[in-house]
Symmetry: C2
Subunit: 194 residues, 2 copies
Amino acid sequence: MTAGKTPAPPQRRSEATRTAILEAARERFAADGYERATIRAIAKDAHIDPSMVMRYYGNKEGLFAAAVTIDLRLPDPAALPRDEVGRALVTHFLAMWEESEVLTALLRVGTTNQAGAERMQGIFREQVLPLAQRFCPDPEQVPARAALVSSQLLGFALTRYVLRFPPAVALDTQEAAAWLAPTVQRYLTAPFPQ
Amino acid sequence: MTAGKTPAPPQRRSEATRTAILEAARERFAADGYERATIRAIAKDAHIDPSMVMRYYGNKEGLFAAAVTIDLRLPDPAALPRDEVGRALVTHFLAMWEESEVLTALLRVGTTNQAGAERMQGIFREQVLPLAQRFCPDPEQVPARAALVSSQLLGFALTRYVLRFPPAVALDTQEAAAWLAPTVQRYLTAPFPQ
DNA sequence: CTCGTAGGCCAACAAATGTTGACCTCACCG
DNA sequence: CGGTGAGGTCAACATTTGTTGGCCTACGAG
């Protein structure tokens, strides 16, 4: 609260544990979901006392909010050729899921926790919607198309990273992208069906 | 345990509460997921004592197992014309999701609970895989295609019934089916892409 | 009428969990 | 050297949750 007058970073040694807590929290939330990821377990993973978690992040919700911040880093729509947006989006998404547990954590929490669901709605609204806008002329259709794209991408992540359906796990990212890209491409650019 | 020798139904009045418990359990599991659906809350909804739940279903896992039994009632593949399987599957799925909360309950629990995830794998294996078998000549490709179909169907259910993305909720089932059917159709019958 | 028993409730236990406050320790500044 | 405050630990709290066992009640068979 009391902002130090010196702009120099006063961080003695706490930054290390702060990030250790966040890393442990991400792992636990990804593996167990919100309810089963206990503060005590996270603290033990970070090799500190549970009360430290509270001091740094206030409460469990605050910890979750701090641990799971997501930037999808979607490619600039303007730079994408219209007929390759599907493939570009899919490969980008798969890469993001493979490289960190944050998305798995968010998906797990989003299905059981109201705050988590709202967080996902926020990401959808601020990051996916704008991209869809670029490729669909009729603004009336943009939200539905963006939601369909999300449904396929999240659905594949669900079966592969959360439910772990063996065939979905077995697909390598190349094959998966080859299957999913046309779907996403169609949702974004094809005319309204029927 | 002690089977009555009289074949006449000895049920005095318990069957009513048994099903009341199951209904309440389905509602709670669907709304809250496994962890946050408490036995006490379920019992209160069913207007009985929590200990009754234990007596009838042993423990919480037993209750979940009894409450969430799913038969997708997939249409007979043999009766489906090959080029309409996509639309038939999608409309059937949407109808099932709309008519009861069991699927929502299973999806919510599947994402946080190992037993729930395995239950979903079982349904996939025993009900979706066989259907895909009918439409794909190469047995090598059947599991992947079935998983892709599941990913799109579950993904749409996720965004619509669990995460409640507004555009996904706003779509009426007709529109949704029109968008999703070609995707499912392609996953089942189109040649391997690229 | 009597009494066994199924259906049901009440009270309690043990464990786990989020959260709090007192205390400790030691680097650093005056 | 003294003390101030940040980084950290410990023990405890109140609550919730799954689960258990004892007790009550009424109905139907003998």
